[in-house]
């Protein structure tokens, strides 16, 4: 019995260490680290968005990519509150900087790097992820193999910079070392009742894969006041249970 207790203790300690390496902070220090993403953060272990980690975004069409950029800008805006700049690496930049302003970000604080070959993009991303003077690094890539993603994840663990990989036209979804895999698709905009025109952008945010967390899906809109979640659809399905199980299980 005593041995089992001991084993359990060791396992829980190991799990905590792994979490730490993967960018998850325990509850106690996470209070201040909550980014303000609302229920979205609850899908992650300890209920905190993993900042020192690699995230993967899938987008198939141009419209998805635009939605993805929008959602990502919000995340960047939250991450860049510490006044550090961020780098956006792509082969063909489509982002229109003045539009990012409404997502709470100062577009001139983003450094855009335009590289043509995937090799160069990966190299630049790895170099950038090693530099802890940055808040976040975004790279638009087509393919990302497991070993490449592992390299990036290792760089991230060292510097605690957040990395985002935007993957366009993915032919085959392969395993990667990323902490989370997202898909953002546009949804009809959110309008106040009876008003004409196009309203606030709304997306379906799919968290397809998350390490040690519960994959989920939300409908969320971005308004000048912040996120608005469409709660009707998902009531009761938020991963509260799962989050508790992690805490009690460990």
């Amino acid at each position: 019995m005593c041995v089992r207790e001991k084993q359990k203790k060791i396992i829980s300690q190991l799990r905590r260490d792994i979490f730490h390496l993967e960018g998850f902070r325990p509850e106690s220090e996470s209070k201040s680290l909550r980014l303000g993403l609302g229920v979205l953060e609850d899908a992650f272990p300890y209920g905190v968005f993993p900042t020192a980690a690699l995230h993967e975004f899938l987008c198939e069409q141009d419209e998805d990519a635009a939605a993805c950029s929008g959602f990502l800008s919000i995340l960047l805006g939250l991450l860049m509150q510490n006044q550090k700049p961020c780098i956006w690496i792509s082969s063909f930049p489509m982002v229109f900087p003045p539009a990012l302003k409404i997502f709470g970000i100062r577009p001139d604080r983003i450094i855009f790097v335009r590289l043509h070959r995937d090799r160069d993009i990966l190299w630049a991303m790895e170099e950038a992820l090693k530099c802890n003077g940055l808040a976040a690094v975004v790279a638009e890539l087509r393919e990302l193999s497991f070993s490449q993603s592992r390299r990036l994840q290792l760089a991230v663990e060292h510097s605690r910079v957040t990395g985002f990989v935007l993957r366009r036209d993915v032919k085959k979804i392969n395993t990667t070392a990323c902490v989370a895999r997202w898909r953002i698709s546009p949804q009809p905009s959110l309008l106040e009742d009876g008003l004409p025109g196009v309203g606030f952008p709304q997306w379906q945010v799919d968290l397809l894969k998350v390490k040690n967390g519960q994959p989920d899906s939300w409908n969320m809109a971005w308004t000048p006041e912040g996120f608005v979640f469409d709660r009707q659809e998902k009531t009761g399905e938020f991963p509260w249970k799962n989050r508790e199980s992690i805490q009690t299980g460990s």
């Binding site: 635009a66 950029s69 302003k101 983003i110 790097v113 160069d120 003077g133």
Partner: protein
Amino acid sequence: MQKRYLSVWFKFLLPNHLAVSRPELKESPLVITVQERGRQLVKYCNAPALLQGIRLGMTVADAKALIPAIILEGYREGSEQLVLKELGEWCIRFSPIVAVDGTDGLLIDLTGCSHLWKGEIPYLRDLLDRLKAKGYQVRGAITDTIGSAWAIARFGKEKAIIPIREQYRFLLSLPPAALRLDILIVQRLHKLGMHRIENFIDLPCSVLRRRFGEALLLRIAQALGNANEFIEPISAPEPYTERLPCLEPIRTAKGIELAISQLLESLCIRLYGEGMGLRQAVLKCYRVDGQVVKVSIGTHKPSHHTGHLRKLLEMRIARIEPALGIELFVLEASGIEAVEVSQQAIWANSSEKDEVMVTELMDRIALRVGKNAIQRYLPQEHYWPERSVKAVSNLDEQASIPWSADRPRPTHLLACPEPIRVTAPVPDYPPILFIHKGQKHAIKKADGPERIEREWWLDTGEHRDYYTVEDDAGRRYWLFRLGHYQGQQDQWFLHGFFA
């Protein structure tokens, strides 16, 4: 050893300097003007203008009345000093101690130098001839003291080279202004009928001091050599170059690496001491077979950080082909700038350190893929979407106007608007349907139009009427119609995607 000084007087320094680069100004009357109390005054003029009656200090209007075809040039504050410093650096070939003297002269301490020219006469002639060949009208004088050299260069009429300890005799016939006196003292001396130095130089000190103050006595003593006077010599800029000869020719990457770190260390120590940083450097590798291999690096911000520069150079090692071996490494810093002083160690806050790290990262990326791969965007005062941002490649430039978010703008903008087919039955209403790349989009919600006029002073063409539309699947687009509504012939384009 008796000190000997040479004073060089440039009578028309700035006009001559202008004529060096623009020879057409040599013969025509030219004045350099300065704005003073709302008037344009003549600050300097050249010899032809002086001959035709232009005087320093007269208004430009008067000068134009005298010579209608006169050429005017604006005066820039401190430009004499720059020109003189440049000339002074050149004059170091004549003597190691050269100083800028006021706004129109140079002072050279030639003690112990003239024998190399076989005497003072060939020395002076050589110097003046060379300056004249450059295009400057100059006069020079060699005497024992700075004061007398100054006086004789400007006012002397007999000899340019005064024998040792004879300056007293040659000063006597000069006007009081030759003693570098305040204009008020000169005027007072003239008023008292003392038009030449000999009138007052022998008066008792107490008398002179009472009437003209200590300054006159000091100037007399300096001219005669009874009081010391010091000059502040120009130091020649030492080139930022480091050499590393090798006993054995170097052929390995490791060897090159070691050479680079040795060169950088000594260069960076010097740069650090002078508060300078490196912007561009060239590493020249002289090979045994007589070839020279060059690699160059550049940085975004001046840096004297050895580790960073070494990393940049090491990225270039693969390009160095040692062949039979490299026998000499030369590291030349071709671009040097002052480093913004940052507080060291304990006071360094994290953001400064971060900034350095980011610029160093940018240097590495720029070195690998080229400098124009890195861009930031700043807002510009244009409504036309393509012109509303400006790409800048440096990391410091700040936005001069704030980013505006009052108009809807798409998250993704197509570099080139793509033509679409639409069904728009009602004039100036958003279309009800559009086809892009063979896919049909039925429009459910729409905003607009927002008319953006073309900036006629920049290009010609028709205006655009932009609509923000959302299709049945909830995807949002930015469409525009070129020009006014015409029914079937309308040209519609897709220009961007909203988030």
